[in-house]
């Protein structure tokens, strides 16, 4: 099965204790698509400005990503400028220029309307809802969001959540959304609002998955070199949805595997700046790291 993703394409400027890059390829839909493209076909809906480098488009096409739904408009591409300290779990946004992304109103091409796997990357929940109104009975809808929408569009976000199967957010967002500090209680509250599966990302600590009948804890891969955490969450979502869509199933076992594949893709993402690591990555490396997660977590019964 292939995946429809709706989200941002950006030119990022990022500084970490390990280096600095300017105007590199970024954006939630980019990281998601590139990560998912190692597993299945991805169809991308988004918007770029006239300044978006042709080489980036070529790279996305080389990865087999379908750009039929990508609009190029007058103006500049969305730009994000951020900084990280040694605690790579916390991004400090320096500037955000929405540019063409400010007027983004996703139109889903007719040929995409029967796609069964949909990832709504972090955009205005009203737009996420508008996307869902354009598609025909998808099988799996996953959604990401952020503190800004929880604080400013809570009603619309909650409306959208009713139509979502899998919510993928970080722990601060889970707490803010529910006004509950304890993650197990927060998860229970979220599972009452629509999503049947909740994934709580915990940065360098891994991820937790909650359903009404199961809890799964996945570690992050212990890396000796982490240059830039930008895009880790979207790469996680890409690996996760990529495995789900490729398998065509949606049971506890496949979801657990998908979370590990998500963690694998996030771990590769942060090894270099921007999407650089994905340019040389092979599927065999992905499988090898998946197997390392088995070694990392296994212990004998008593």
């Amino acid at each position: 099965m292939s995946i429809l993703v709706v989200g941002s394409l950006a030119l990022d400027s990022v500084e970490t204790p390990f280096g600095k890059v300017d105007n590199v390829l970024g954006g939630s839909a980019v990281y998601f698509s590139v990560a998912a493209s190692f597993f299945t076909k991805v169809h991308l809906v988004g918007v770029i400005g006239k300044d978006f480098p042709e080489t980036h488009l070529q790279f996305l096409e080389q990865r087999g990503i379908d750009l039929q739904g990508l609009k190029q408009e007058e103006g500049k591409t969305f730009r994000w400028c951020g900084k990280y300290g040694y605690d790579l779990n916390e991004a400090h946004t320096l500037t955000t220029e929405l540019n063409v992304f400010e007027r983004f109103d996703p139109t889903i091409p007719l040929t995409y309307r029967n796609l069964k796997y949909i990832f709504l990357a972090n955009i205005d929940p009203e737009l996420q809802l508008r996307v869902l109104k354009q598609v025909n009975r998808p099988q799996v809808v996953a959604l990401d969001t952020m503190d800004f929408w929880i604080e400013n569009k809570l009603t619309q976000l909650k409306e959208t959540l009713k139509l979502v199967d899998i919510l993928i957010i970080n722990e601060a967002e889970a707490r803010e959304l529910t006004q509950e500090y304890n993650l197990v209680k927060a998860a229970r509250l979220i599972l009452e609002q629509g999503p049947k599966t909740l994934i709580i990302k915990q940065g360098t600590y891994g991820a937790l998955m909650f359903t009404n009948s199961s809890i799964f804890s996945a570690p992050a891969y212990p890396l000796e070199v982490t240059l830039d955490p930008t895009g880790a969450g979207d790469s996680f979502a890409g690996g996760f949805m990529g495995h789900l869509a490729r398998s065509g199933k949606l049971n506890d076992e496949v979801i657990r595997q998908a979370i590990i594949f998500g963690s694998v893709m996030a771990s590769f993402c942060v090894e270099q700046f921007s999407i650089e690591r994905f340019q040389s990555l092979t599927y065999q490396e992905i499988i090898n790291r998946f197997n390392e997660f088995l070694n990392l977590t296994c212990f004998p019964t008593v």
Copy 2:
């Protein structure tokens, strides 16, 4: 095999968002002993003042803990007063009164000197070293420490570490000890200083284990109710050493199981204030929770 533990016995006053207790049973050697006592025999070396309630001694004896090495001296028992916010990973010390603990100079009873499993709870590294000089070729020495000793007695701590098999510290301590933020690199540096196994506790996120040939990641048990995190680290060490000593083995598989038992005991510890949860705990509950850790972490191969 039985265990020798050297550390503090205290009367704690603790406030968390979920309640407040005054002068309750605490101290590293207490939490350790009580947790380990579910697995094997524990011999405790420590000091208390004349104000130490008889009921606490009775409780420790009921748990089968040997108090032959416990000294009662003129003066007051060590007191710690602390507070936690919603982030239970961070303790705020309000006051510390060392009292009789200030002159603590552990003498290991002759009958303990051939004990093969030793846990040196968080005390002055000079005293930890003095303990090791009194015992005969132990099989497994595990040690805990804290930022205060890293900052004030680094030379003595490093001297002691050379004789230690297993170092159990939290992630901030691992970073401070090595001046290295990345935990994988920090672990490598620590493994060059003596310990063959390093366990890095990560509070509500679980624990990481490093040896020269293996990395293991254990989650924390996802609890809906956490009243008081005091003693979680020592309860972890108690479950960990308890399982090691009971099994009598020291290989990668047993160490991994021991880390899960440590996590199990830490999770029970924080469910109530002080050592309260251990008063009603059964071995069957421990095994049940161990098995829940299997469900929490398992995923199918691909």
